[in-house]
Symmetry: C4
Subunit: 232 residues, 4 copies
């Protein structure tokens, strides 16, 4: 069932591979059918070159498998937690993309250092706290989702669609799996440029609010004027 | 109309893509027909893989669209401002190329750290002031052009054909769109090598004037002897 | 003889080349037939584009050549020493991959800075002592193996399947040549991300034990739940 | 005339391009016929994609053109000076390869930081003095050759076949153009790894003499045992 969703989740996973954000079996993309409460996700530990729409696994919102011969991604519970917490997201991506992961490993929030960042993320991309020992023991992947949600106290997940999980790597979301992939590419792009910027200007804390507003809002929101909205 | 100009602007945009200076819809190249006062520019938010000569948009020197089904680049007014200010340029390119953008985000002028830089840019590539709040509110893209022009007080735009817009990224120009693309590649090259140099030698301020003169003038100007001038 | 082993060692070497871990004739992969005590290894100084299964050289566990027209890799004795010391390994890879080599040249152990590292290596990847002058004179390649084994005092080679040889580069091992190649790719990945992390957070010493345990053990050991174990 | 030499010089130039050491018209490779005292070199400012064996230019040892429709490389006099000074070299390459150029721009000698460097260069790769104003005025390209030779006081050019020209970039030489290209690739490789090493370990000054001797001499000299010497 849900052939169309599985096909789109498959394509999102393959785009991760083509965009060089993953090696071998790293990373995973998922998408949700909100009406049925079913999540389609990459199988665990399968090489991208061996992936097909049929191998995409279906789980319910608690992470229980409902279709597929293969085990779902080991990060499935993190995805499901985010889908349950945040009703307006339709796709999630997790990668170990190099520069975003470096910021996460340094346990540093990624500041908004330029207009490219502002075009896609409305402010800094938060880094979570390091997960506690009890949370690791209890239910590690579920609790990783909790950490992400906690990092968004005071931040609207609809305007900053990415988080850095401390010591781990990025999670990114969007309206569907394709948008989550697209924003994963952008996150890596700004994490890379931000890394270079941090070395050239170690004290940099980010651009001013007026410039952030201008760039984010000319692309998003009611008065946006970027792109071809008349087409859509 | 202006089929030849549109074709050349299309090709310049595609060269940006092939040279890996842009991802997805980033960046834009334009060219001008000085006689008619018409600028050809990339449409806004269109993926390079979906571009064609027919989709290139025509605007007048104030940025008003005169042909094309798609909206012009959101940076159109910046291009037009530069074309109005600087009569001897025929093409402009804007990218978020990684190393040039890092210098811009660090709000640092790119010093001339070696002869490769001197071969193409006659001295440091200036970084603008951060744009003021009133300018952002008034007419952001137009005022970005003003910032660039202001950064060239005391610098001849015909010998240094690039600027770093603070917190944003590079703008590069030339005799036509093709030259602006070519110099965008060179700017990224020297921004990259300059980044490595800055890490190996943080106090470096640049090469001496006599070496800058030698390299720039052996390639450009009346007594140049680089290349195959007898061919042209 | 041992056509199948030679074919698999050939393929492992070619994977090094495809994964961009080697240039020209750098690096080498080997595999062992434990029953016969025969090691198959890349010939010395042969370009990857000129390699074939037939050109793979066979040596005994002392490094004496038993088959092949070409000389074996100059690192053969290092491989043989490791095979003799560590009975549970079936494949070894040596490269000069860039980031792992940089850590080795800096004579720095690679700390476990994130969960990607923890997924593949159970703790820091040790860096050997700089080899002594007498050991260089006596039997350099053999003694390089000794240095590696010495660096594993207190570390189990079955859980950390890689070493950095000071001033030199990485050696990696596994159940067979293919696993050693796979882990070489992973080592380069975490050495790269670790390099970026070290620049963003110079005081970082690595993730906590509970997180290391969680990630390593969910992929390896009796209670692992990553991947498709039911398939194998 | 000298069709074979021109073909080999053409191929050496194309290898620079394939190995990503040059962009557009950067760089040049030359080779010499010692008997006739004729040097074959890339034409000036010609794109690699437009190169052919017929377009390779012939000059005598003073740099005077003796064959070819195109002007020779603007660096021709530097090549000729080195051929006149150092009788045992048969090929020369100049590039602006990124990491080697960064060291040159930082005016820093490249120390021998690891065994990969020691495999190909017998000690540090020297960086010249910054060229004097009078030398620039007098005969810039010729004097660049003089700078390189001066940097080799106390260093044997037959064992360290590369120099960094301060504020400029690398020159590399060898038995023929092909070896000079090969060593240019290796120089870039060790300049890159050396750059990473310098950031991880800023005080590093290089490996000890015994290790340098071991690696250089196992590949070169009378008692070398690397590779397939019995084949040649």
């Amino acid at each position: 069932m849900l052939e169309e969703l599985k096909r789109r989740v498959y394509e999102a996973n393959m785009e991760l591979y083509k965009r060089n954000l993953v090696v071998y079996t790293f990373g995973n993309a998922s998408g949700i059918d909100r009406e049925r409460g079913i999540v389609a996700i990459k199988p665990s530990g399968v090489d991208y070159t061996a992936l097909s729409p049929e191998r995409i696994v279906l789980v319910d919102l608690k992470g229980t498998q409902v279709e597929g011969d293969l085990n779902p991604s080991s990060d499935t519970k993190t995805h499901c937690r985010l889908y349950r917490e945040w009703k307006e997201i339709g796709g999630i991506v997790h990668t170990h993309s190099r520069y975003a992961t470096a910021w996460a490993q340094a346990k540093r929030t990624l500041p908004c250092l330029g207009t490219t960042h502002a075009d896609y993320f409305y402010g800094e991309v938060p880094c979570t706290e390091v997960i506690g020992d009890r949370a690791i023991e209890k239910d590690y992947e579920e609790e990783t989702g909790v950490q992400i949600v906690n990092a968004f106290a005071g931040i609207d997940y609809r305007f900053v669609k990415a988080a850095l999980v401390a010591c781990h790597g990025p999670f990114v979301w969007g309206a569907d799996a394709a948008e989550a992939v697209y924003l994963s590419v952008m996150l890596e792009e700004v994490a890379m440029t931000g890394f270079f910027t941090a070395l050239l200007d170690p004290k940099s804390t980010g651009i001013k609010q007026s410039l952030l507003d201008k760039h984010y809002l000319r692309k998003h929101g009611k008065e946006s004027y970027y792109g071809q909205s008349k087409e859509s």
